[in-house]
Symmetry: C2
Subunit: 486 residues, 2 copies
């Protein structure tokens, strides 16, 4: 089998720059058609693509079939977002000659940043990859995309690109709207350094993300870098909840931290719960019931084994249920435990370990929930498992809302619903930019900047801000929000 073929950075960026004016000039309706064409195309090619993804990622077929559906669903959500039109934030202030000084006519809307580099993730070969969230939201914003192929699934990227190329050409999009460059590290560096790139979307490790962010910041013209990195995703269990339903909590927690072999950025890595033999027993039996599964690749498995080793060496860490690599290379999940007092002293316990392991933090006094919450760094998610009415809830909620991008009540962080309200991001170090999200409708905002038009004759204005509102956009006029149907 020959190696998959990709464009050079020079060719891809030249094509993207050439396609940028076409994308910027496209109407929201045009872009919705384009996104839906991609959604339909990947759905139609699912049966061809899933086996390639399976070979490269070792993920099971059912999961990958579901992931294709999620990916097309994401593309369709962004089609809905651009059709709805609020994302352009059109704001019109009519002139006021009666003011001192007189106020000119001002019309604001958002404009695309130009070609976006998308660094794909290995753990979602469809949903956070070639046609994933970053690509869908950048295209929705009106930006061409250059995909940096992940070394974990180059053949899949090549195959998805072939499907996408056909779909894009059928809707009349120029070739540079979506291109892919190779998986090598130096290709990624060259891509970020290319002067034609206007922003970067990244999903991956903190280490890789921060290194690439430096490159984006040190360019002659720095560009925004949106890195969705990792997170320990603490779960806080009250004593009353553990007393009432230890069995179901244990089963759900274990299902969540072992889902996809623990290779999710929302994996619950910390489970703060009362010290109780009953809960331990329930946890042990839930972990023992999990079928070991292969990790994405040997590099990731190697990093997991090393990280697991480091965790187990930390003073006070106890193995509740041992796991590890089996003869067939599948990995059985590991559950560790530590008393609260040790966690508060050992910062290394708060570092994400990507893979099927989680740490139970056991307390004697429920007030420790708040102490632990104060200790965790910025996280993507924080979860409360409670009965309701516990006095610890008010102070606990007050702390976690400041530390997390998503706060969850009696649910689990894995499974990020792709909706208008979703926010997938969080305070540093879980992302490089807590103001923005990589999942959900508002992800488009990352790739847009405001432009205001002052005093222009209507016929020279972009359609989005013309007085007659030809695109029927929701907009704010003289301070009053008007929906399309107003």
């Amino acid at each position: 089998m020959s190696a998959p073929r990709f464009l050079t950075v020079e060719t891809a960026c030249a094509a993207a720059a050439e396609a940028a004016p076409w994308m910027a000039a496209s109407t929201p309706a045009d872009r919705a058609v384009l996104l839906e064409a991609l959604a339909d195309a990947i759905d139609a090619a699912s049966a061809d693509l899933v086996p390639i993804a399976g070979q490269e990622s070792r993920l099971p077929e059912a999961r990958l079939i579901g992931e294709v559906a999620r990916t097309s669903g994401q593309l369709r959500l962004f089609a809905e977002v651009v059709r709805e039109g609020s994302f352009l934030e059109v704001t019109v202030d009519h002139p006021r000659a009666d003011l001192t000084p007189p106020r000119p006519d001002l019309r604001r809307c958002l404009a695309p940043l130009g070609p976006v580099a998308v660094f794909t993730a290995s753990n979602f070969p469809f949903a956070f990859s070639t046609l994933g969230n970053d690509t869908a939201s950048a295209l929705a914003a009106g930006c061409p995309v250059v995909v940096k192929t992940h070394p974990g699934h180059p053949r899949l990227t090549e195959a998805v690109m072939a499907v996408a190329d056909k779909a894009l050409s059928a809707v009349g999009a120029p070739a540079g709207v979506l291109t892919a460059v190779g998986p090598a590290l130096e290709v990624g560096v060259e891509l970020i350094e290319d002067r034609r790139i206007g922003a970067v979307g990244f999903t991956g490790s903190a280490r890789g993300g921060f290194a690439l962010q430096q490159i984006a910041q040190n360019r002659a013209v720095p560009i925004p870098f949106y890195g969705e990195l990792g997170s320990i995703n603490p779960v806080f269990v009250t004593a009353a909840a553990a007393a009432e339903r230890a069995g179901s909590i244990a089963a759900e927690y274990v299902a969540s931290f072992t889902l996809g072999s623990g290779q999710f950025c929302t994996k619950p890595g910390l489970f703060v719960a009362p010290r109780s033999e009953g809960l331990r027993t329930a946890l042990r039996s839930a972990v023992a019931a999990v079928t070991p599964a292969e990790m994405l690749n040997d590099t990731i498995r190697g990093a997991f084994v090393a990280g697991l080793g480091r965790l187990q060496e930390i003073d006070g860490v106890e193995v509740v249920h041992p796991g590890g690599v089996l003869d067939d290379a599948a990995v059985a999940p590991t559950l560790l435990a530590v008393p609260v007092s040790r966690l508060l002293e050992a910062e290394q316990l708060l570092e994400e370990c990507f893979g099927p392991v989680s740490l139970v933090v056991e307390y004697e006094d429920e007030a420790a929930l708040v102490d632990v919450a104060r200790t965790v760094p910025g996280v993507l998610t924080a979860t409360v498992i409670a009965q309701g009415g516990e006095p610890v809830l008010a102070p606990l909620i007050e702390v976690i809302r400041q530390r997390a991008g998503r706060v969850i009540w009696n649910g689990w962080p894995t499974g990020v619903a792709v909706t208008w309200a979703q926010h997938h991001g969080g305070p540093f170090p879980s992302t490089t930019n807590a103001l923005h999200t990589s999942v959900g409708a508002s992800a488009v905002r990352r790739f847009l900047r405001p432009v205001v038009w002052q005093g222009w004759p209507d016929e020279l204005l972009p359609a989005a801000v013309q007085e007659s509102n030809p695109w029927a956009l929701p907009r704010r006029v003289d301070g009053v929000l008007e929906t399309a149907s107003t």
Copy 2:
């Protein structure tokens, strides 16, 4: 007269951190009252404050009286913005048990980043200073503010803080809601490095801004740095416009670049126009008619004189009207000219020179307008002076909309209207973050980050996202935008 007294960084940040929960918990209506109390207080103290501002900034009384009114107007606009409530971006998605996987209840809104450091500017001692745009928008967002006093007007900051303290205490705000630290450079560094600071607003020079941004980025926990720096603000004059109305164009341009002694970040520094003796004559007489005025302080005047010297030494630069420092320390405006061909070769001509000087770039062929537009770096504003119908307009507009934050038709960039639609920002290097603005309603967005609440019982949710919408906020429910009156 004793030196003005300010808090230490430690005291100010401790107070701000203590006030942060109070601010975060305040309702939009509470914050509107707080902003209006500040607006009323500074209006009432105008007669006392203006003389202090005049002594420290050398700006004329009428201008300073107008600036106080602008400052209170800004505070009132942000009160209107928080009362209206869209700034919270409330988005509700109800649960959907029928989907695979089932979708949980998700409720997103924006939350304050915590204490904000505001680095004030010298050129607007009221409107971009202690109670200026950055302070008003941070308070509106629910963030306490620590003001870094500008060395250009420490006594004014002390006096404004006394007025603000009284107003804030009258509405029951804790002392840490607004504090000020001293003017020394090292105080500013210490402030940005303080772990309790969540974001920085800065208005000033590119050099100072980039240095401070580095500090914000290199913290153990990096924070957003919003620097509104400087810009050459090109004006593009078509041949037809110059032929039709050279006199009025010349008069308006000269009024704009000499306003406030050229000490505005929106000063038109480049005037691209047809080479014509008639236009030159009109420009010369307009410049000659300007009354020389003092610059803000000796340091700024020194930098201006040095910058002017550097410009005049550049090969091809001609002095159309000489100016400079007079015996009484007032500065007469200088007008320089250069052929287009020289501008395209000499990058130094595109650097901002803060003060009463501007450069006329003379063309023979109108197509040069587009060439120059392609050469300018990112700018706050770009202006077109035209009759309408010129063929050069389409390509010119296409280029400037990609280079500028505000594009102006037959108007002038100075005088930044403070409205819902305003955008005061632009691509690098005019600001450090082209996605955000320091003037206008959306300036609050800089100090807010999204949080999504998943699956919570209504009574544990913040009021902003409760099902009954107790604050009557505009919000998006299941994808549909609902205005407060819907």
